[in-house]
Protein backbone atom coordinates (compact mmCIF):
# COMPACT_ATOMS: atom_id res chain seq x y z
CA UNK A 1 0.00 0.00 0.00
CA UNK A 2 2.70 2.44 1.09
CA UNK A 3 5.03 1.36 -1.70
CA UNK A 4 2.20 1.80 -4.21
CA UNK A 5 1.65 5.32 -2.96
CA UNK A 6 5.34 6.18 -3.15
CA UNK A 7 5.52 4.76 -6.66
CA UNK A 8 2.40 6.66 -7.75
CA UNK A 9 3.75 9.93 -6.34
CA UNK A 10 7.13 9.37 -7.99
CA UNK A 11 5.42 8.69 -11.32
CA UNK A 12 3.32 11.81 -10.96
CA UNK A 13 6.06 14.19 -9.88
CA UNK A 14 9.09 12.67 -11.57
CA UNK A 15 12.28 14.66 -10.94
CA UNK A 16 10.41 17.11 -8.70
CA UNK A 17 10.80 14.63 -5.84
CA UNK A 18 14.00 15.59 -4.00
CA UNK A 19 13.63 12.93 -1.33
CA UNK A 20 10.96 10.54 -0.09
CA UNK A 21 10.53 8.53 3.07
CA UNK A 22 8.11 6.27 4.88
CA UNK A 23 7.70 6.00 8.63
CA UNK A 24 4.95 4.04 10.41
CA UNK A 25 2.93 4.03 7.22
CA UNK A 26 3.15 7.81 6.71
CA UNK A 27 4.64 8.78 3.37
CA UNK A 28 6.57 12.03 3.02
CA UNK A 29 8.00 13.60 -0.12
CA UNK A 30 10.24 16.61 -0.31
CA UNK A 31 9.90 18.94 -3.27
CA UNK A 32 11.48 22.25 -4.35
CA UNK A 33 9.79 25.16 -2.63
CA UNK A 34 9.61 27.32 -5.73
CA UNK A 35 7.47 24.68 -7.41
CA UNK A 36 5.18 23.75 -4.55
CA UNK A 37 2.06 25.08 -6.27
CA UNK A 38 2.78 23.03 -9.39
CA UNK A 39 3.42 19.93 -7.26
CA UNK A 40 0.18 20.28 -5.32
CA UNK A 41 -1.83 20.86 -8.49
CA UNK A 42 -0.34 17.71 -10.01
CA UNK A 43 -1.07 15.67 -6.89
CA UNK A 44 -4.61 17.02 -6.77
CA UNK A 45 -5.44 16.55 -10.44
CA UNK A 46 -3.79 13.17 -11.02
CA UNK A 47 -6.79 10.78 -11.08
CA UNK A 48 -4.75 7.93 -9.58
CA UNK A 49 -3.72 10.03 -6.57
CA UNK A 50 -6.46 12.69 -6.23
CA UNK A 51 -5.08 14.42 -3.15
CA UNK A 52 -7.92 16.89 -3.19
CA UNK A 53 -8.13 17.93 0.47
CA UNK A 54 -5.66 20.06 2.40
CA UNK A 55 -5.71 18.78 5.97
CA UNK A 56 -3.15 21.16 7.40
CA UNK A 57 -0.11 23.29 6.69
CA UNK A 58 2.53 24.23 9.24
CA UNK A 59 6.16 25.10 9.81
CA UNK A 60 8.99 23.27 11.54
CA UNK A 61 12.24 24.85 12.73
CA UNK A 62 15.18 22.45 12.38
CA UNK A 63 17.65 24.72 14.18
CA UNK A 64 18.65 22.14 16.78
CA UNK A 65 19.01 19.42 14.18
CA UNK A 66 21.03 21.84 12.06
CA UNK A 67 23.36 22.52 15.00
CA UNK A 68 23.81 18.81 15.58
CA UNK A 69 24.68 18.32 11.95
CA UNK A 70 27.11 21.23 11.89
CA UNK A 71 28.83 20.50 15.21
CA UNK A 72 28.87 16.80 15.95
CA UNK A 73 29.00 16.03 19.65
CA UNK A 74 32.09 14.42 21.06
CA UNK A 75 31.51 10.88 22.15
CA UNK A 76 33.31 9.42 25.10
CA UNK A 77 34.85 6.07 24.40
CA UNK A 78 34.92 3.12 26.77
CA UNK A 79 38.21 4.09 28.40
CA UNK A 80 37.73 7.83 28.42
CA UNK A 81 39.13 8.43 24.95
CA UNK A 82 37.29 11.10 23.02
CA UNK A 83 36.05 9.79 19.70
CA UNK A 84 34.42 12.19 17.28
CA UNK A 85 31.42 11.23 15.17
CA UNK A 86 32.10 11.42 11.45
CA UNK A 87 31.16 14.80 10.01
CA UNK A 88 28.06 14.71 7.81
CA UNK A 89 28.66 15.00 4.12
CA UNK A 90 27.11 17.68 1.95
CA UNK A 91 25.63 21.01 2.94
CA UNK A 92 23.65 21.30 6.23
CA UNK A 93 19.87 21.15 5.80
CA UNK A 94 18.00 24.45 5.44
CA UNK A 95 16.69 25.58 8.78
CA UNK A 96 12.93 25.66 8.21
CA UNK A 97 10.38 23.35 6.68
CA UNK A 98 6.81 23.91 5.60
CA UNK A 99 4.74 20.74 5.65
CA UNK A 100 1.51 20.14 3.76
CA UNK A 101 -0.73 17.32 4.94
CA UNK A 102 -2.85 16.10 2.06
CA UNK A 103 -5.74 13.68 1.95
CA UNK A 104 -7.47 11.91 -0.88
CA UNK A 105 -11.18 11.77 -0.11
CA UNK A 106 -11.79 9.04 -2.67
CA UNK A 107 -9.03 6.65 -1.56
CA UNK A 108 -8.58 7.80 2.07
CA UNK A 109 -4.82 7.91 1.61
CA UNK A 110 -2.66 10.59 3.15
CA UNK A 111 0.54 12.22 2.01
CA UNK A 112 2.90 14.70 3.56
CA UNK A 113 4.61 17.11 1.20
CA UNK A 114 7.56 19.03 2.54
CA UNK A 115 9.50 22.03 1.31
CA UNK A 116 12.70 23.25 2.89
CA UNK A 117 13.10 26.96 3.53
CA UNK A 118 16.55 28.48 4.09
CA UNK A 119 17.00 31.41 6.46
CA UNK A 120 18.13 33.77 3.73
CA UNK A 121 14.96 33.27 1.69
CA UNK A 122 12.03 32.95 4.06
CA UNK A 123 9.25 32.72 1.52
CA UNK A 124 7.11 29.98 0.05
CA UNK A 125 4.49 30.55 -2.67
CA UNK A 126 0.99 30.71 -1.21
CA UNK A 127 -1.39 27.85 -1.98
CA UNK A 128 -4.54 29.76 -1.01
CA UNK A 129 -5.42 29.77 -4.69
CA UNK A 130 -5.69 25.97 -4.61
CA UNK A 131 -7.37 25.56 -1.24
CA UNK A 132 -8.95 28.34 0.78
CA UNK A 133 -8.16 26.14 3.76
CA UNK A 134 -4.57 27.39 3.57
CA UNK A 135 -5.61 30.93 4.54
CA UNK A 136 -5.19 30.74 8.29
CA UNK A 137 -2.47 28.07 8.41
CA UNK A 138 -0.27 30.27 6.20
CA UNK A 139 -0.97 33.26 8.41
CA UNK A 140 -0.11 31.19 11.47
CA UNK A 141 3.14 29.93 9.92
CA UNK A 142 4.06 33.53 9.10
CA UNK A 143 3.19 34.56 12.66
CA UNK A 144 5.03 31.74 14.41
CA UNK A 145 8.06 31.31 12.13
CA UNK A 146 8.30 34.48 10.06
CA UNK A 147 7.97 32.62 6.76
CA UNK A 148 6.21 34.76 4.17
CA UNK A 149 3.75 33.45 1.60
CA UNK A 150 3.78 35.64 -1.53
CA UNK A 151 0.36 35.54 -3.14
CA UNK A 152 -1.55 35.27 0.15
CA UNK A 153 -4.52 37.66 0.06
CA UNK A 154 -4.19 38.87 3.64
CA UNK A 155 -0.91 37.89 5.28
CA UNK A 156 -1.15 39.22 8.85
CA UNK A 157 -0.29 37.83 12.24
CA UNK A 158 -2.96 35.46 13.48
CA UNK A 159 -2.35 34.48 17.08
CA UNK A 160 0.02 37.20 18.31
CA UNK A 161 -0.75 40.90 18.21
CA UNK A 162 0.53 43.02 15.33
CA UNK A 163 3.32 44.75 17.25
CA UNK A 164 4.73 41.50 18.63
CA UNK A 165 8.40 41.45 17.65
CA UNK A 166 9.29 37.73 17.61
CA UNK A 167 8.27 34.43 16.11
CA UNK A 168 7.55 32.22 19.12
CA UNK A 169 7.77 28.77 17.57
CA UNK A 170 11.31 29.30 16.36
CA UNK A 171 13.71 27.18 18.36
CA UNK A 172 15.86 30.16 19.35
CA UNK A 173 12.86 31.91 20.90
CA UNK A 174 12.82 31.14 24.65
CA UNK A 175 9.89 29.36 26.26
CA UNK A 176 9.22 32.20 28.69
CA UNK A 177 9.59 34.94 26.12
CA UNK A 178 12.03 37.81 25.96
CA UNK A 179 10.21 40.03 28.42
CA UNK A 180 8.25 41.83 25.74
CA UNK A 181 6.50 45.02 26.67
CA UNK A 182 3.19 45.47 25.01
CA UNK A 183 3.05 48.56 22.87
CA UNK A 184 -0.29 50.30 22.93
CA UNK A 185 -0.80 52.75 20.12
CA UNK A 186 -3.64 55.13 20.71
CA UNK A 187 -4.50 57.26 17.76
Amino acid sequence: MTMDLLKGVSNCLGPLVIASSEFRGDVTVEVPKARITEVLVRLRDDPALAFDFLVDLFGVDNLDLYKKAAKPEKKTGGEGDAAEEPKPEGPPPPRFEVNYLLLSLSTNRRLQVKVRVPEDDLSVPSVTGLWKAATWPERETYDMFGIRFPGHPDLRRLLMWDEFPGHPLRKDYPLEGRGEVRILRYE
Binding site: F23, A133, L169
Partner: protein
Amino acid sequence: MANEYAVNTGHSTGDYVTINIGPSHPAMHGTLRVIAQTDGETVVKADPEIGYLHRGVEKLGEHLTYHQFIPITDRLNYCSAIANNVSYEMAVEKLMGIEVPEKAQLIRVIMTELARIADHQVLVGILGVDLGAFTPFFYLIIQREEIYEIFEWYNGARLTNTFGRIGGVEADLPDDFDARWRELKPNLLKAIDETDKLLTHNRIWMDRTIGVTAFSPEDALAWGFTGPCLRACGVKRDLRKDEPYGLYDRFTFDVPVGKNGDVFDRYMIRMREMEESIKIIDQAYAMYREMAPDAPLMAKVPKTIKPPVGEVYHAIESPNGELGFFIKSDGSEKPYRIKIRPPCYMIYQAFPELVKGEMIADLIACLSSLNIIAGELDR
Protein backbone atom coordinates in the same frame (compact mmCIF):
# COMPACT_ATOMS: atom_id res chain seq x y z
CA MET B 1 -17.42 54.65 1.19
CA ALA B 2 -19.14 53.45 -1.97
CA ASN B 3 -21.82 51.00 -1.04
CA GLU B 4 -21.28 48.44 -3.77
CA TYR B 5 -22.81 45.66 -1.76
CA ALA B 6 -26.04 47.55 -1.15
CA VAL B 7 -26.27 48.41 -4.82
CA ASN B 8 -25.64 44.82 -5.90
CA THR B 9 -28.14 43.32 -3.52
CA GLY B 10 -30.80 45.96 -3.58
CA HIS B 11 -30.37 46.68 0.10
CA SER B 12 -30.57 50.14 1.57
CA THR B 13 -27.76 52.50 0.68
CA GLY B 14 -25.58 54.33 3.12
CA ASP B 15 -22.27 54.09 4.84
CA TYR B 16 -21.22 50.90 6.56
CA VAL B 17 -21.02 50.79 10.30
CA THR B 18 -18.23 48.88 11.98
CA ILE B 19 -19.33 46.87 15.00
CA ASN B 20 -17.01 45.02 17.34
CA ILE B 21 -18.63 41.83 18.56
CA GLY B 22 -16.51 40.43 21.37
CA PRO B 23 -14.03 39.53 22.74
CA SER B 24 -16.18 39.93 25.86
CA HIS B 25 -19.70 39.50 24.64
CA PRO B 26 -22.37 37.17 25.99
CA ALA B 27 -23.09 35.78 22.53
CA MET B 28 -19.48 35.02 21.69
CA HIS B 29 -18.26 31.55 22.51
CA GLY B 30 -15.15 32.22 24.47
CA THR B 31 -12.77 35.07 23.85
CA LEU B 32 -13.46 35.65 20.19
CA ARG B 33 -13.75 38.94 18.42
CA VAL B 34 -15.49 39.66 15.16
CA ILE B 35 -15.02 43.04 13.54
CA ALA B 36 -18.18 43.30 11.48
CA GLN B 37 -19.01 45.88 8.88
CA THR B 38 -22.72 46.22 8.61
CA ASP B 39 -25.20 47.83 6.31
CA GLY B 40 -28.16 48.26 8.60
CA GLU B 41 -28.69 44.76 10.03
CA THR B 42 -26.85 43.06 7.19
CA VAL B 43 -23.28 41.88 7.57
CA VAL B 44 -21.19 43.13 4.67
CA LYS B 45 -17.86 41.92 5.96
CA ALA B 46 -16.77 40.05 9.06
CA ASP B 47 -13.18 39.69 10.19
CA PRO B 48 -12.71 37.18 12.99
CA GLU B 49 -9.78 37.79 15.27
CA ILE B 50 -8.36 34.99 17.37
CA GLY B 51 -5.39 34.63 19.66
CA TYR B 52 -6.89 35.96 22.89
CA LEU B 53 -6.54 32.54 24.47
CA HIS B 54 -3.26 31.59 22.82
CA ARG B 55 -1.11 29.87 25.44
CA GLY B 56 1.66 28.53 23.25
CA VAL B 57 0.60 24.93 23.78
CA GLU B 58 2.71 23.70 20.88
CA LYS B 59 5.79 25.51 22.22
CA LEU B 60 5.09 24.08 25.64
CA GLY B 61 4.96 20.60 24.15
CA GLU B 62 8.56 20.92 22.99
CA HIS B 63 9.65 21.40 26.59
CA LEU B 64 7.66 18.58 28.21
CA THR B 65 8.04 14.85 28.03
CA TYR B 66 5.54 12.78 26.08
CA HIS B 67 3.70 11.78 29.27
CA GLN B 68 3.67 15.30 30.66
CA PHE B 69 1.89 16.66 27.61
CA ILE B 70 -1.31 14.62 28.20
CA PRO B 71 -2.79 17.06 30.79
CA ILE B 72 -2.03 19.95 28.42
CA THR B 73 -4.29 18.39 25.78
CA ASP B 74 -7.15 18.53 28.30
CA ARG B 75 -6.97 22.30 28.25
CA LEU B 76 -7.61 22.49 24.53
CA ASN B 77 -11.28 21.62 24.58
CA TYR B 78 -13.24 21.78 27.79
CA CYS B 79 -16.25 20.10 26.18
CA SER B 80 -14.51 16.94 25.05
CA ALA B 81 -11.08 16.80 26.66
CA ILE B 82 -11.12 13.02 26.37
CA ALA B 83 -11.11 13.18 22.56
CA ASN B 84 -8.01 15.40 22.70
CA ASN B 85 -6.31 13.03 25.13
CA VAL B 86 -7.03 9.98 23.00
CA SER B 87 -5.96 11.66 19.76
CA TYR B 88 -2.61 12.67 21.25
CA GLU B 89 -2.02 9.31 22.89
CA MET B 90 -2.75 7.49 19.64
CA ALA B 91 -0.29 9.72 17.78
CA VAL B 92 2.46 8.86 20.29
CA GLU B 93 1.53 5.18 20.13
CA LYS B 94 1.85 5.33 16.36
CA LEU B 95 5.23 7.03 16.72
CA MET B 96 6.38 4.31 19.13
CA GLY B 97 4.73 1.43 17.29
CA ILE B 98 2.73 0.40 20.36
CA GLU B 99 -0.24 -1.97 20.12
CA VAL B 100 -2.91 -1.05 22.67
CA PRO B 101 -4.80 -3.92 24.39
CA GLU B 102 -8.39 -4.41 23.23
CA LYS B 103 -9.91 -3.83 26.62
CA ALA B 104 -8.26 -0.43 26.89
CA GLN B 105 -9.47 0.41 23.40
CA LEU B 106 -13.04 -0.45 24.37
CA ILE B 107 -12.84 1.78 27.43
CA ARG B 108 -11.51 4.55 25.20
CA VAL B 109 -14.43 4.08 22.81
CA ILE B 110 -16.98 4.22 25.64
CA MET B 111 -15.49 7.34 27.16
CA THR B 112 -14.90 9.11 23.84
CA GLU B 113 -18.48 8.51 22.75
CA LEU B 114 -19.76 9.78 26.09
CA ALA B 115 -17.63 12.88 25.50
CA ARG B 116 -19.15 13.23 22.04
CA ILE B 117 -22.66 13.15 23.50
CA ALA B 118 -21.69 15.73 26.14
CA ASP B 119 -20.12 17.97 23.50
CA HIS B 120 -23.16 17.81 21.23
CA GLN B 121 -25.46 18.47 24.18
CA VAL B 122 -23.58 21.67 24.91
CA LEU B 123 -23.76 22.74 21.29
CA VAL B 124 -27.48 22.11 20.89
CA GLY B 125 -28.25 23.65 24.28
CA ILE B 126 -26.21 26.79 23.67
CA LEU B 127 -27.49 27.13 20.10
CA GLY B 128 -30.98 27.16 21.59
CA VAL B 129 -29.97 29.76 24.19
CA ASP B 130 -28.42 31.98 21.55
CA LEU B 131 -31.61 31.84 19.53
CA GLY B 132 -33.86 32.49 22.51
CA ALA B 133 -34.92 28.92 23.33
CA PHE B 134 -33.79 28.40 26.88
CA THR B 135 -35.63 25.25 27.95
CA PRO B 136 -33.73 22.62 25.92
CA PHE B 137 -30.53 23.87 27.50
CA PHE B 138 -31.74 22.72 30.90
CA TYR B 139 -32.89 19.33 29.63
CA LEU B 140 -29.56 18.69 27.98
CA ILE B 141 -27.25 20.19 30.56
CA ILE B 142 -28.70 18.03 33.32
CA GLN B 143 -27.82 14.95 31.31
CA ARG B 144 -24.38 16.33 30.51
CA GLU B 145 -23.87 16.69 34.22
CA GLU B 146 -24.67 12.98 34.59
CA ILE B 147 -22.03 12.17 31.97
CA TYR B 148 -19.52 14.36 33.80
CA GLU B 149 -20.31 12.47 36.98
CA ILE B 150 -19.37 9.25 35.21
CA PHE B 151 -16.09 10.86 34.15
CA GLU B 152 -15.47 12.08 37.69
CA TRP B 153 -16.31 8.70 39.14
CA TYR B 154 -14.01 6.98 36.66
CA ASN B 155 -10.95 9.21 36.71
CA GLY B 156 -11.52 11.84 39.37
CA ALA B 157 -12.00 14.87 37.14
CA ARG B 158 -14.99 16.39 35.43
CA LEU B 159 -13.51 18.64 32.77
CA THR B 160 -9.77 18.11 32.61
CA ASN B 161 -9.88 14.35 32.58
CA THR B 162 -6.29 13.50 31.61
CA PHE B 163 -7.91 10.35 30.36
CA GLY B 164 -5.86 7.37 29.31
CA ARG B 165 -2.16 6.78 29.18
CA ILE B 166 0.26 6.22 26.34
CA GLY B 167 -0.24 2.53 25.69
CA GLY B 168 -3.69 2.09 27.23
CA VAL B 169 -5.69 3.29 30.20
CA GLU B 170 -4.77 3.57 33.85
CA ALA B 171 -7.83 1.91 35.39
CA ASP B 172 -10.59 -0.51 34.53
CA LEU B 173 -14.23 0.53 34.47
CA PRO B 174 -15.67 0.32 37.99
CA ASP B 175 -18.03 -2.59 38.69
CA ASP B 176 -21.17 -0.49 38.80
CA PHE B 177 -20.73 1.02 35.34
CA ASP B 178 -23.48 -1.32 34.18
CA ALA B 179 -25.99 0.11 36.64
CA ARG B 180 -24.90 3.69 35.88
CA TRP B 181 -25.20 3.24 32.13
CA ARG B 182 -28.60 1.53 32.44
CA GLU B 183 -29.80 4.52 34.44
CA LEU B 184 -28.23 7.14 32.18
CA LYS B 185 -29.15 5.79 28.75
CA PRO B 186 -32.96 6.25 28.92
CA ASN B 187 -32.47 9.72 30.36
CA LEU B 188 -30.17 10.67 27.49
CA LEU B 189 -32.66 9.39 24.93
CA LYS B 190 -35.47 11.20 26.70
CA ALA B 191 -33.54 14.49 26.71
CA ILE B 192 -32.81 14.13 22.98
CA ASP B 193 -36.47 13.34 22.32
CA GLU B 194 -37.71 16.28 24.38
CA THR B 195 -35.30 18.65 22.66
CA ASP B 196 -36.43 17.29 19.32
CA LYS B 197 -40.07 17.95 20.20
CA LEU B 198 -39.32 21.43 21.45
CA LEU B 199 -37.13 22.61 18.61
CA THR B 200 -37.13 20.64 15.39
CA HIS B 201 -40.63 21.51 14.18
CA ASN B 202 -40.87 24.79 16.04
CA ARG B 203 -41.80 27.54 13.59
CA ILE B 204 -39.48 30.13 15.13
CA TRP B 205 -36.61 27.65 15.29
CA MET B 206 -37.08 26.71 11.66
CA ASP B 207 -37.19 30.34 10.57
CA ARG B 208 -34.02 31.11 12.48
CA THR B 209 -32.05 28.10 11.25
CA ILE B 210 -33.23 26.78 7.88
CA GLY B 211 -31.24 28.29 5.02
CA VAL B 212 -29.14 30.36 7.41
CA THR B 213 -25.42 30.49 6.55
CA ALA B 214 -25.75 27.56 4.16
CA PHE B 215 -22.59 26.18 2.56
CA SER B 216 -22.12 24.00 -0.49
CA PRO B 217 -20.10 20.75 -0.23
CA GLU B 218 -17.51 22.16 -2.64
CA ASP B 219 -16.98 25.24 -0.49
CA ALA B 220 -16.87 23.18 2.69
CA LEU B 221 -14.15 20.92 1.28
CA ALA B 222 -12.16 23.85 -0.09
CA TRP B 223 -12.18 25.44 3.36
CA GLY B 224 -11.07 22.22 5.08
CA PHE B 225 -14.35 21.45 6.87
CA THR B 226 -14.54 18.12 8.68
CA GLY B 227 -16.95 16.50 11.12
CA PRO B 228 -20.60 17.46 11.59
CA CYS B 229 -20.20 20.77 9.71
CA LEU B 230 -18.97 18.89 6.62
CA ARG B 231 -21.58 16.16 6.94
CA ALA B 232 -24.28 18.84 7.22
CA CYS B 233 -23.27 19.92 3.71
CA GLY B 234 -23.98 16.44 2.39
CA VAL B 235 -20.49 14.91 2.41
CA LYS B 236 -20.58 11.52 4.08
CA ARG B 237 -17.19 11.44 5.71
CA ASP B 238 -16.44 10.18 9.19
CA LEU B 239 -12.99 8.99 10.19
CA ARG B 240 -14.58 6.28 12.34
CA LYS B 241 -15.90 4.73 9.11
CA ASP B 242 -13.47 5.94 6.44
CA GLU B 243 -10.19 5.44 8.28
CA PRO B 244 -11.25 3.27 11.22
CA TYR B 245 -8.95 3.55 14.19
CA GLY B 246 -9.15 1.70 17.48
CA LEU B 247 -11.96 -0.82 17.18
CA TYR B 248 -14.46 1.32 15.26
CA ASP B 249 -14.61 -1.09 12.34
CA ARG B 250 -16.37 -3.58 14.60
CA PHE B 251 -19.34 -1.39 15.48
CA THR B 252 -22.54 -0.87 13.53
CA PHE B 253 -23.68 2.72 13.35
CA ASP B 254 -24.94 5.25 10.83
CA VAL B 255 -23.31 8.44 9.69
CA PRO B 256 -26.05 11.10 9.48
CA VAL B 257 -25.75 13.46 6.53
CA GLY B 258 -27.50 16.75 5.84
CA LYS B 259 -28.44 18.50 2.60
CA ASN B 260 -28.13 22.24 2.80
CA GLY B 261 -25.20 22.80 5.14
CA ASP B 262 -27.18 25.40 7.07
CA VAL B 263 -27.59 25.94 10.81
CA PHE B 264 -30.58 23.58 10.89
CA ASP B 265 -28.61 20.74 9.31
CA ARG B 266 -25.69 21.28 11.68
CA TYR B 267 -28.16 21.02 14.55
CA MET B 268 -29.86 17.91 13.17
CA ILE B 269 -26.57 16.11 12.54
CA ARG B 270 -25.62 16.56 16.19
CA MET B 271 -29.02 15.33 17.36
CA ARG B 272 -28.76 12.15 15.30
CA GLU B 273 -25.12 11.60 16.21
CA MET B 274 -25.96 11.51 19.89
CA GLU B 275 -28.26 8.57 19.21
CA GLU B 276 -25.58 6.83 17.16
CA SER B 277 -23.06 7.32 19.96
CA ILE B 278 -25.43 5.62 22.39
CA LYS B 279 -25.60 2.64 19.99
CA ILE B 280 -21.79 2.51 19.86
CA ILE B 281 -21.47 2.60 23.64
CA ASP B 282 -23.96 -0.27 23.93
CA GLN B 283 -21.96 -2.38 21.50
CA ALA B 284 -18.61 -1.49 23.04
CA TYR B 285 -19.87 -2.29 26.52
CA ALA B 286 -21.28 -5.63 25.35
CA MET B 287 -17.84 -6.49 23.93
CA TYR B 288 -16.19 -5.26 27.10
CA ARG B 289 -18.31 -7.58 29.25
CA GLU B 290 -17.16 -10.58 27.26
CA MET B 291 -13.54 -9.88 28.06
CA ALA B 292 -11.68 -11.51 30.92
CA PRO B 293 -11.66 -9.43 34.12
CA ASP B 294 -7.89 -9.57 34.25
CA ALA B 295 -7.35 -8.71 30.58
CA PRO B 296 -4.49 -6.20 30.23
CA LEU B 297 -5.21 -2.49 30.17
CA MET B 298 -1.74 -1.28 29.25
CA ALA B 299 0.79 -2.25 26.63
CA LYS B 300 4.40 -2.53 27.66
CA VAL B 301 5.57 1.07 27.64
CA PRO B 302 8.89 2.28 29.02
CA LYS B 303 8.70 4.85 31.82
CA THR B 304 10.78 7.26 29.79
CA ILE B 305 9.47 7.42 26.29
CA LYS B 306 12.17 7.97 23.70
CA PRO B 307 10.63 7.31 20.30
CA PRO B 308 12.75 6.68 17.23
CA VAL B 309 13.59 9.59 14.96
CA GLY B 310 10.67 10.23 12.65
CA GLU B 311 7.43 12.10 12.20
CA VAL B 312 3.83 10.91 12.26
CA TYR B 313 0.37 12.36 11.92
CA HIS B 314 -2.64 10.71 13.50
CA ALA B 315 -6.20 11.97 13.55
CA ILE B 316 -9.43 10.85 15.15
CA GLU B 317 -13.05 11.85 14.63
CA SER B 318 -13.54 14.20 17.54
CA PRO B 319 -17.01 15.70 18.18
CA ASN B 320 -16.02 18.73 16.06
CA GLY B 321 -14.34 16.81 13.25
CA GLU B 322 -10.84 15.70 12.37
CA LEU B 323 -8.59 16.30 15.34
CA GLY B 324 -5.02 15.40 14.51
CA PHE B 325 -1.60 15.54 16.10
CA PHE B 326 1.60 15.79 14.09
CA ILE B 327 4.63 14.81 16.13
CA LYS B 328 8.23 15.07 15.02
CA SER B 329 10.69 13.15 17.14
CA ASP B 330 14.44 13.69 17.22
CA GLY B 331 14.93 10.59 19.35
CA SER B 332 14.99 12.46 22.67
CA GLU B 333 12.48 12.18 25.53
CA LYS B 334 10.71 15.37 24.42
CA PRO B 335 8.85 15.94 21.16
CA TYR B 336 10.83 18.06 18.74
CA ARG B 337 7.68 19.58 17.27
CA ILE B 338 4.01 19.09 18.03
CA LYS B 339 1.39 20.49 15.69
CA ILE B 340 -2.23 20.22 16.61
CA ARG B 341 -4.85 20.24 13.89
CA PRO B 342 -7.99 21.46 15.65
CA PRO B 343 -11.14 20.96 13.61
CA CYS B 344 -12.79 24.26 14.54
CA TYR B 345 -9.71 26.18 13.36
CA MET B 346 -10.27 25.27 9.74
CA ILE B 347 -14.01 25.77 10.05
CA TYR B 348 -13.83 29.18 11.69
CA GLN B 349 -11.58 30.65 9.00
CA ALA B 350 -14.54 30.33 6.61
CA PHE B 351 -16.68 32.44 8.94
CA PRO B 352 -16.42 35.67 6.86
CA GLU B 353 -17.69 33.82 3.80
CA LEU B 354 -20.42 32.04 5.76
CA VAL B 355 -21.96 35.19 7.23
CA LYS B 356 -21.50 37.55 4.31
CA GLY B 357 -24.90 38.97 3.42
CA GLU B 358 -26.62 37.48 6.47
CA MET B 359 -28.21 39.37 9.36
CA ILE B 360 -26.28 40.11 12.55
CA ALA B 361 -28.56 37.78 14.50
CA ASP B 362 -27.71 35.01 12.02
CA LEU B 363 -24.03 35.62 12.66
CA ILE B 364 -24.60 34.52 16.25
CA ALA B 365 -26.60 31.47 15.12
CA CYS B 366 -23.83 30.52 12.71
CA LEU B 367 -21.14 30.85 15.34
CA SER B 368 -23.06 28.63 17.76
CA SER B 369 -23.67 25.97 15.14
CA LEU B 370 -19.98 25.73 14.21
CA ASN B 371 -18.96 24.77 17.75
CA ILE B 372 -15.96 27.04 18.12
CA ILE B 373 -13.97 26.22 21.24
CA ALA B 374 -11.53 29.06 21.81
CA GLY B 375 -9.00 26.93 23.67
CA GLU B 376 -8.76 24.46 20.84
CA LEU B 377 -8.80 27.21 18.22
CA ASP B 378 -6.01 29.33 19.70
CA ARG B 379 -4.04 26.57 21.39
